[in-house]
């Protein structure tokens, strides 16, 4: 599975990197550093990635099945 943060939709609520800091880091303004760049989700983090997508208030996180 891959995860991508839609940079135009993301407003920097910060819920995703609070849930999966292993995958998503934030910049000084509070936005995810990797925007519009798909990230590979290791098997043991799939649940957290799904949670992050469901928790994003802007629905800015897309999960792409392999």
């Amino acid at each position: 599975m891959r995860l991508v943060v839609d940079g135009a939709v993301c407003m920097g609520h910060g819920r995703c990197y609070a849930l999966v800091p292993e995958l998503i880091e934030c910049d000084d303004e509070g936005y995810p550093t990797l925007r519009d760049v798909p990230i590979d989700v290791p098997g043991d983090l799939v649940d957290f990635a799904e949670e992050a997508a469901g928790t994003c208030p802007e629905a800015a996180i897309r999960l792409i099945a392999d």
Partner: protein, 413 residues
């Protein structure tokens, strides 16, 4: 007078058959009434026309509220109070639309980003501990006055480089400002005086810092004097507007959320125990507080062009009110929407708004709420609402907040 004006304005207006009500949301009510009202409105109709003031639309459900937030080009932030389409204040960047909005936000974002909050956490924890230690030996307090407003005020001032000893005067200004925010004419004079007081404070602070070669470390007012907007310095008015809204938006709101969170904990001993035993749940409890006890009754926007929206015909200049408090408990959007689920995982609530104007201070507010729970429960693990206390909340004209929250606990020895 407003009644006659509103009837004149809506007479002959095609409201598309939507229900009409005439309601002032400003008066104080018994605690919790506003969420009951939001539920009634949401279940009754997706849209109403309220003939209060000049008249405005109310959208009650999650989907419509989200669409209002996500289409700022249609729903402008020029006014965010639907009963006041042309307010006496101008909050920057709150009431600024694209393309300028993001330019102001980029100046402020780093001051309130998660990294800045991490760096300030130890200092905020110390402030919190001192306040808890002050109230603990008495075995009782009014949580709202003695802790709920003081802690966010001191924490915020320390974040922007103002000594926490200045907290008293800020507390007073915030109280007076929001006393008039709902449109109450008696409160208007105090509101205006509070605004003048805050602006005079910042004008003097800016004067003291003007002309310095380098920005002072950790000092927001000084930083603004060195910041640029489209490669020009900020004007004095812009700086005053920015600093003023931070004070008004940052202190009262967190006090509101803290009050409802601690009322909840006072009434739910099993939740207190759970958070003591499993402190990793404190962040989810805080998010659920922001969803379930949303203090923003509704959020206003001004319509920029004629359009049809959720079955009614909006006209340019109309005000709309997205009922956030109703949307956050909408069963179409959340499982078990009407319950406080302390470990709720998927919680995409709009307690901090949505879209480009999402709350600048969200990371600070969350951290303050988390610290307050940790530090309070460490010293005062068991507490209750004082018997016989009648809890009331300020009306939904501003943000809801408990007016008092008398708490009691046993004191050892």
């Amino acid at each position: 007078v407003t009644d006659m004006l509103s009837r004149a304005a809506t007479a002959g207006r095609d409201l598309g058959g939507c229900p009409v009500l005439h309601r002032d949301f400003a008066p104080a009510q018994p605690a919790g009434c506003h969420w009951e009202l939001a539920k009634e409105l949401r279940e009754g109709s997706p849209v109403y026309f309220n003939t209060f003031a000049q008249g405005y639309w109310i959208f009650t459900r999650h989907e419509a509220v989200k669409e209002i937030y996500k289409q700022p080009e249609i729903f402008s932030s020029e006014s965010i109070t639907p009963w006041q389409p042309d307010p006496i204040y101008r909050f920057v960047p709150t009431q600024v639309d694209a393309p300028d909005h993001i330019k102001y936000r980029r100046i402020l974002n780093p001051w309130f980003g998660p990294r800045a909050i991490d760096a300030a956490e130890d200092r905020m924890r110390d402030l919190c501990r001192r306040l808890v230690d002050e109230v603990a030996p008495a075995g009782r307090c009014d949580f709202v006055a003695d802790f709920g407003l003081r802690f966010p005020t001191e924490a915020f001032l320390s974040m922007i480089g103002i000594p926490p000893a200045e907290a008293d005067r800020f507390v007073r200004w915030v109280e007076d400002f929001f006393g008039g925010f709902g449109g109450d004419p008696e409160g208007l004079a105090a509101m205006t005086a509070a605004l003048d007081g805050i602006r005079a404070y910042w004008a003097q602070a800016l004067d003291e810092r003007r002309g310095e070669a380098e920005p002072r470390e950790g000092d927001l007012a000084s930083h603004l004097l060195h910041a640029t907007f489209d490669e020009r310095p900020l004007t004095g008015t812009e700086m005053l507007d920015m600093l003023t809204v931070l004070v008004l938006a940052g202190l009262d709101t967190t006090r509101g959320e803290l009050g409802y969170l601690f009322r909840h904990l006072a009434e739910r001993p099993e939740h207190r125990r759970l958070l003591i035993e499993r402190p990793e749940l404190i962040p989810t409890a805080v998010e659920e507080t922001l969803r379930y006890y949303t203090i923003v009754f509704g959020d206003g926007r001004k319509v920029t062009r004629d359009l049809e929206f959720h079955g009614v015909q909006l006209k340019k200049g109309d005000m709309v009110y997205g009922l956030v408090s109703g949307a956050n408990r909408d069963p179409d959007a959340y499982e078990d929407a009407g319950s406080f689920v302390i470990d709720r995982k998927r919680n995409n609530h709009m307690g901090f708004a949505n879209g480009p104007h999402r709350c600048l201070g969200m990371h600070l507010a969350r951290r303050e709420m988390q610290l307050a729970v940790q530090e309070w429960l460490r010293v005062i693990p068991d507490f209750r609402i004082a018997p016989g206390a009648e809890l009331t909340e300020r009306g939904g004209g501003a943000m809801m907040t408990l007016e008092r929250l008398p708490l009691e606990w046993e004191v050892a020895g």
